[in-house]
C-alpha cells in the first residue's frame, strides 16, 4: 500500500514537473520581450499622400496693373538674371565703386517693402524686376521698378496659395530686353513683355510637366538663351527649351534617370569646346547640349554626389572641371569632364564632407583669377561661416580665411570693381579688397535692418540692390557721385 502511495506521489511529481516545464517552455516560446516597442516605420506621422493639386485653377498672368513706364534712358547697365550676364556674379560694367562708406552712412537711393521671401532682382537698362508674393491677396506678382528712384512701373501676377515656409518668394527673373521670365514658388512659369508687362504665356510645371515642387518651394532661377526659356523640369523632361515669343516647347531632354528639380539653377558653360547647360538635379549632375546641332541631348551624367537638398549652382573652375557643393551635411565634389571623339564623360576628382574643405549651403561660390571664393557652411568646423579661398586643384586646401572675427553666414557676395561685397545674415555689408592671397576688409556698414538678408545681390550702373526677408534697398555705390 505504501509502495503504491509512493509511486503515485512520484508520478504526480513527474507530471507536475513536466507541466511546469511545458509552461515555462510555452512562456519562453510565445512571450515577446519587446511587445511594448513601437516599430519605427513610414507613415507614423499621419502624412496623407502628396497631392499636386492647389485646390483651384491657377490662371497665370491674370492680374495686371500699370503705373507708368518711363525709366531713365541714360541707364544702360544690365544684371539680367541670377548671377549676372555671365552667370559668375562678377560685375563687368567698369563703374568705379566706393572703397569705404561715406561718413554719413550708405547712400540709400530708395527702398521698397516686399512680401516675405528671399527673391533677388534682375536689372535691365533702368528697369528692376522682382518676383514678389502678396500674402494678403495670395498672388505671385512680377513687379517692375525704375532703377533711378524705385517708382513702380507695372506689376503682373496670378492668384496662387503659398504659405509661409521660411519665406515665400525665392527666385530671380530673367530678362533679355524683349522678354522677362519668372518661375514662381509653386513652379508656375510666366513670360511677359519686358517693357510693357504684356502677358505672353505661362506654364504650370507641376500640372503640365509632372515636375515635383521642391521643399521650401522653387529656388530655380530661369534663364533666357537667345529668346528661348531654359528650364529644369525633372518630371516628364529633365530640361526644356520654350520659345519666349510663342510659348511652344522647342526642345526637351528626356529624363531616363528620373532626376528631380533641385533649388539649383541651370548654368550655361563651354566645356571642352562644347556649349552646354549644366544642371545639378536631385539624383545627379548632368550636362545637356546647348548647341543647335543637338540641342537638348544629354552629353554626360554623374551620380557620385547626390545630396537630398541642393541650393548652390554648379561653378565652372577651369580645365574642364565643375565644382558642385551643397549644405545639410553634404559637402562638395569636383568633377572632371572629358571629351573623347564626339562623346563626353564625367569623373569625380574630389568628394568630401563640409568639415574637410570648401563647401556652401546656400550661395554659389565665385571663380575669378584661377581661385574660388566662398562662405563656409555652419558645419565646416573651425572655418564655419568664414569667407575662404581655394585653388581649384585642391578644394580640401583652404588657402586663406577671413579669420574668426569675420564670419558671415548665409548672405550673398559678389565681385565688382575689383572688390568683394559680402552681406551677412543681419544686413551688414562688408567691402573687402579682391585678392587671391589674403582677405583685407576695407569697410563695413549696416545697410539694412531686417533678418535673413540672403537674396543674391544685383548691381548695375553703380546701384547695388539687396534685400532682407521683407524689404528691398537700392544703394548708390558710385565713387564719383
Amino acid at each position: 500500500m505504501q509502495q503504491s502511495i509512493k509511486h503515485i506521489k512520484e508520478r504526480y511529481i513527474h507530471l507536475t514537473t513536466i507541466i511546469i516545464g511545458c509552461c515555462i517552455f510555452l512562456f519562453w516560446l510565445f512571450y515577446n520581450p519587446v511587445h511594448n516597442f513601437t516599430e519605427a516605420v513610414p507613415g507614423l506621422d499621419n502624412r496623407p499622400p502628396r497631392s499636386s493639386s492647389l485646390g483651384s485653377e491657377v490662371i497665370i498672368g491674370e492680374h495686371f496693373t500699370f503705373f507708368g513706364n518711363a525709366p531713365d534712358p541714360s541707364l544702360t547697365g544690365r544684371w539680367p538674371n541670377f548671377r549676372g550676364a555671365d552667370f559668375d556674379n562678377i560685375a563687368k560694367d567698369n563703374v568705379e565703386l566706393i572703397d569705404s562708406w561715406p561718413a554719413t552712412g550708405p547712400e540709400i537711393m530708395w527702398e521698397k517693402d516686399l512680401g516675405e521671401g528671399h527673391a533677388g532682382v534682375a536689372i535691365y537698362e533702368g528697369r528692376v524686376y522682382v518676383l514678389d508674393y502678396d500674402e494678403r491677396k495670395e498672388r505671385d506678382i512680377l513687379r517692375c521698378f525704375s532703377l533711378v528712384d524705385g517708382t513702380e512701373l507695372w506689376r503682373r501676377g496670378y492668384s496662387v496659395p503659398v504659405k509661409r515656409n521660411h519665406g515665400m518668394s525665392r527666385t530671380i527673373p530673367a530678362v533679355d530686353g524683349e522678354f522677362v521670365l519668372t518661375m514662381g514658388p509653386r513652379c508656375h512659369v510666366m513670360c511677359c513683355d519686358a517693357t510693357s508687362g504684356e502677358f505672353l504665356w505661362g506654364m504650370d510645371l507641376v500640372k503640365d510637366q509632372k515636375a515635383e515642387e521642391p521643399l521650401w518651394y522653387t529656388g530655380q532661377c530661369p534663364i533666357i538663351d537667345n529668346g528661348v526659356a531654359v528650364l529644369a523640369i525633372g518630371g516628364n523632361a529633365l530640361l526644356m527649351g520654350i520659345d519666349c515669343t510663342t510659348g511652344e516647347i522647342v526642345w526637351q531632354t528626356p529624363n531616363p534617370d528620373s532626376l528631380r528639380m533641385s533649388h539649383s539653377s541651370v548654368v550655361p558653360m563651354t566645356i571642352a569646346g562644347k556649349k552646354m547647360y549644366v544642371y545639378n538635379a536631385l539624383g545627379g549632375l548632368c550636362g545637356v547640349s546647348a548647341e543647335e546641332s543637338d540641342k537638348g541631348k544629354i552629353l554626360w551624367t554623374i551620380k557620385d554626389f547626390t545630396p537630398n537638398v541642393i541650393v548652390p549652382s554648379p561653378v565652372y573652375v577651369g580645365d574642364n572641371r565643375i565644382f558642385v557643393t551643397a549644405g545639410y551635411g553634404a559637402g562638395s565634389a569636383l568633377v572632371q569632364i572629358n571629351k573623347s571623339g564626339g562623346s563626353f564623360s564625367a569623373r569625380t576628382l574630389q568628394i568630401y564632407k563640409p568639415s574637410e574643405g570648401m563647401a556652401s549651403e546656400q550661395q554659389t561660390p565665385l571663380f575669378k583669377d584661377g581661385h574660388v571664393f566662398n562662405i563656409q557652411t555652419k558645419d565646416a568646423g573651425t572655418t564655419r561661416n568664414q569667407f575662404v579661398c581655394c585653388n581649384p586643384d585642391d578644394f580640401r586646401n583652404i588657402l586663406w580665411t577671413s579669420s574668426t572675427t569675420e564670419r558671415f553666414g548665409l548672405g550673398p557676395y559678389i565681385i565688382a570693381d575689383d572688390k568683394f561685397y559680402i552681406m551677412n545674415d543681419e544686413g551688414e555689408l562688408t567691402i573687402a579688397r579682391f585678392s587671391t592671397s589674403t582677405f583685407e576688409v576695407l569697410d563695413k556698414a549696416q545697410v539694412i535692418e531686417g533678418d535673413d538678408s540672403w537674396a543674391p545681390m544685383a548691381i548695375a550702373d553703380g546701384r547695388l540692390i539687396f534685400r532682407d526677408s521683407k524689404k528691398m534697398v537700392c544703394v548708390d555705390m558710385r565713387a564719383n557721385e
Binding site: A40, G43, D45, Y328
Partner: protein, 191 residues
C-alpha cells in the same frame, strides 16, 4: 437660531495641542523650504556654449541622464525636412527608422497641414546625446536645445557632466532662472 457651543476642558486641550503641533510643523516646513531655496544654486547648461559633444548622455550620475532635449517651438520652422529629425542624407522623408537621426526614437513628428509638421520630444526616451541638437543648429534654426531638467537632476555638489564639459557650458544658476533656452525669453518678452 444659532446655538452657542460649549467647549469642555478636554476639547480645549486637544484643540490647543493640535493647533500647536500644526503651527510648529508649518514653521519647520517654511524654515526648511526657505533654507533649501535661499542662496541655493542649481546646475544648468548654456545652449549658446554647448558643442553637443555627447558627454551629457554618458557622464551624468543618473541613468538616463537628467539632460534632455527641449524643443523651443516658438523658433521651430515646422519643416518637412527637419534636420534635427532626419539623419543627413536620409533617402526619404518618412518616419522609417532608417531615416531618423535620434538613436532612441525620442522625437516624434505629426503632420499638421502642408507643408507643416509638429515635432515633439518624448522625454522618457531622450538620453541627452545631443545629436538632434547638433544637426538642428548646423542646418536649421537651433530650436532643439539641451537643458538639465530640474525635476530630474539630483543637483550634485560637483556635477559630473560639468566636470567633463569641454565647452564649459555648465554653471550654477539661481532657481529663478532655472532654464537658459535660446530664442525663447526674447519672444516671451515681446508677447
Amino acid at each position: 437660531m444659532k446655538k452657542d457651543k460649549i467647549i469642555n476642558r478636554r476639547d480645549f486641550i486637544q484643540t490647543g495641542i493640535r493647533t500647536g503641533i500644526g503651527a510648529g510643523l508649518g514653521i519647520i516646513g517654511f524654515g526648511l523650504i526657505s533654507r533649501s531655496v535661499e542662496g541655493k544654486t542649481i546646475w544648468q547648461l548654456d545652449p549658446a556654449k554647448c558643442v553637443q559633444c555627447g558627454n551629457c548622455a554618458t557622464e551624468c550620475v543618473l541613468q538616463a541622464s537628467a539632460v534632455k532635449c527641449i524643443h523651443v517651438t516658438d523658433m521651430c520652422g515646422y519643416c518637412d525636412l527637419c534636420s534635427g529629425f532626419f539623419r543627413p542624407g536620409a533617402l526619404e522623408l518618412t518616419t522609417g527608422a532608417e531615416n531618423k537621426l535620434c538613436p532612441t526614437g525620442a522625437i516624434v513628428r505629426t503632420y499638421v497641414e502642408e507643408p507643416y509638421f509638429e515635432y515633439r520630444i518624448i522625454e522618457e526616451l531622450c538620453n541627452g546625446c545631443g545629436k538632434c541638437v547638433q544637426n538642428c543648429g548646423a542646418f536649421g534654426n537651433g530650436s532643439l536645445q539641451l537643458q538639465v531638467r530640474q525635476d530630474l537632476c539630483v543637483n550634485c555638489n560637483q556635477c559630473a557632466i560639468a566636470r567633463s564639459c569641454p565647452a564649459e557650458a555648465y554653471s550654477r544658476v539661481e532657481p529663478e532662472t532655472a532654464y537658459l533656452l535660446k530664442g525663447f525669453e526674447e519672444l516671451k518678452i515681446t508677447d
